[in-house]
């Protein structure tokens, strides 16, 4: 019988059943499982996890860039997180098992907050129905599937004089839908009071969330908060004739894309080297 002591790859090939891993779960419980078939190609799976992560990053940033000029758009971020660690043990015959150390299964997308709610740049438009929130909070919009929230203040009037979003959903004030009488000059003060020809009509509802991570984007510049009730806020100043654009910085976007591309390339190189090593193990060494 050929001795393969000192050849780690061969040990992986022929003695894989002797390596066990103990997975440490988040709740502290331990699960023991045999290394099994993935032993040989563990490195390939690790590199693959990095490829997947960089692909996700590129997809998220492609969407950020596509929305560079979308009013009220908040960019999405990706976070990387080390995948769950495992303790490796080797069992050799009747000897006590000894630890090979800890090893992670690569990387996975993080579970932390992903939307960056930092303010976007304000752009002066001079249009009297363009409103921007400087500070905290969201406009409240009534949609067929319930209340939604938005930072995009490019409002319009519909045929009944209601203040609506670009998609036609009514904006909600303290007295419900906001209906503006025809003709008069509309002014909105810093606190959100809407007046037409000096006469107060309604006050915009501006709300905020203790934990903005509950907000989910539903398209059409809207956020929805399933089941979470927001609270009114006064921590803002409203600007009439301004629009909040996206909070994306094009330089950051370019750098992140370059980073994603190069990290993808590195992970690919690692995968190819793993493949080359395995090829040697399978085709060359085994010929001994």
């Amino acid at each position: 019988m050929v001795s393969y002591e000192g050849y780690p790859i061969l040990e992986f090939l022929f003695k894989k059943e002797s390596i066990w891993q103990i997975n440490l779960s988040r709740d502290g419980s331990r699960k023991t499982q045999r290394g099994g078939d993935r032993e040989l190609i563990r490195g390939i799976y690790t590199a693959t996890s990095a490829l997947n992560l960089q692909e996700l990053k590129q997809e998220v940033w492609a969407n950020n860039i596509a929305n560079l000029d979308t009013p009220g758009f908040k960019k999405e971020l990706t976070w990387a997180e080390a995948a769950r660690e495992a303790n490796l043990f080797r069992f050799l015959g009747s000897q006590n098992p000894y630890s090979l150390g800890r090893m992670t299964a690569g990387v996975q997308p993080g579970t932390e907050k992903l939307t960056d709610f930092s303010p976007g740049r304000l752009e002066e438009t001079g249009n009297y129905l363009d409103l921007a929130i400087e500070g905290e909070g969201f406009f409240v919009v009534s949609t067929p599937s319930g209340e939604a929230y938005t930072r995009a203040g490019n409002f319009q009037l519909d045929e009944e004089g209601r203040l609506v979003t670009v998609s036609g959903y009514p904006v909600v004030g303290e007295g419900g839908e906001i209906i503006l009488p025809a003709g008069g000059s509309v002014s909105v003060d810093e606190e959100g009071n809407i007046s037409v020809d000096g006469e107060e009509v309604d006050r915009l509802r501006i709300v905020d969330f203790l934990n903005r991570a509950v907000l989910r984007k539903s398209g059409e510049n809207l956020f929805v908060a399933e089941g979470v009730i927001p609270q009114e806020t006064t921590n803002f100043e409203l600007r009439q004739g301004f629009l909040e654009k996206s909070n994306l910085d094009p330089v950051e976007a370019m750098v992140t894309m370059m980073e994603a591309l190069r990290e993808y390339e590195i992970a690919q190189r690692i995968l190819v080297s793993q493949d080359e090593a395995l090829q040697k193990a399978v085709n060359s060494i085994a010929q001994l």
Partner: protein, 262 residues
């Protein structure tokens, strides 16, 4: 990766549309009464990769999940009805509306169109018509041989006939206005049509109930600001460029993936 390609493609298409609108604004910079347009963008739907609130253990949940946006789309192209600049022409048939309101124009198919362009002419019957020969509604006919035409602030048109001292009233220009002028349909020739979203026109006398007043011998320029359009053009071009970089990056990553297997 294919997702990133299509997402960036929506970004490029949106920027193309932005440039189309800017080009039309710039082409009409010297068009009387022209109102500039603006594209309003919206984000597209999101694909949920990991659902918020998914349990990770009996007591813990995923706090925010993973959603991948699928790009952008133009939500509306909105006309901006701010007042253009007013300049003097000294032509007695040039009339400008200072403030809210539209002239009513009778088109050949019998529908009423609305316009901010007050550069009227006379046709063979002496009617006040637009440059295309469409008459004002209600019609105003200037008698042959009239020495002078006066349009008052409230729209009353008077003429002085040779040998007469007292001016003679020949008609009143009425204005129309809409709850939502941005909902009007542009049909070219400086004309708009009422739609369901603009609401029914309200007809009134210039200077009353919030309607603008008329001024004779002046015209309204377009409300296009060249500097603003140039800045938007630069930003649209750069945004187009960076979207194309997102496509290139996705393409390079796919080519790297293709080289995994030699």
């Amino acid at each position: 990766m294919i997702r990133a390609l299509w997402t960036a493609a929506t970004g490029m298409q949106a920027k193309q549309m932005d440039l189309d609108v800017i080009a039309n604004n710039l082409a009409n910079v010297n068009t009387t009464g022209f109102k500039k347009s603006r594209v309003d963008f919206q984000d597209l739907m999101y694909q949920v990769v990991r659902v918020k609130g998914t349990p990770t253990s009996p007591d813990t949940q995923v706090p925010s999940g993973i959603e991948i946006g699928l790009g952008v789309r133009p939500g509306a192209v909105q006309k901006m009805f701010s007042q253009g600049d007013i300049y003097e022409t000294s032509n007695p048939l040039d009339v400008v509306i200072e403030g809210d309101g539209f002239f009513q124009i009778l088109t050949p198919d019998g529908t009423i169109a609305y316009s901010r362009d007050g550069s009227f002419k006379l046709d063979a019957q002496g009617r006040m018509v637009t440059s295309d020969g469409f008459p004002l509604e209600p019609p105003i006919t200037i008698p042959e041989g009239a020495e002078s035409v006066t349009v008052a602030q409230d729209g009353t048109v008077t003429v002085t006939m040779p040998g007469e001292i007292e001016p003679q009233e020949v008609g009143v220009i009425e204005l129309a206005r809409f709850i939502n002028p941005a909902g009007l349909l542009s049909i070219g020739r400086n004309l708009y049509l009422a739609t369901a979203s603009s609401g029914e026109p309200q007809i009134g006398t210039p200077g009353l109930e919030g309607f603008g007043t008329l001024a004779q011998g002046f015209l309204e320029t377009s409300n296009v600001q060249i500097v603003e359009e140039m800045v938007r053009m630069i930003s649209a071009q750069r945004a187009y460029e960076i979207n194309s970089k997102a496509i290139t990056t996705a393409d390079e990553m796919m080519s790297i993936a293709n080289n995994l297997k030699r």
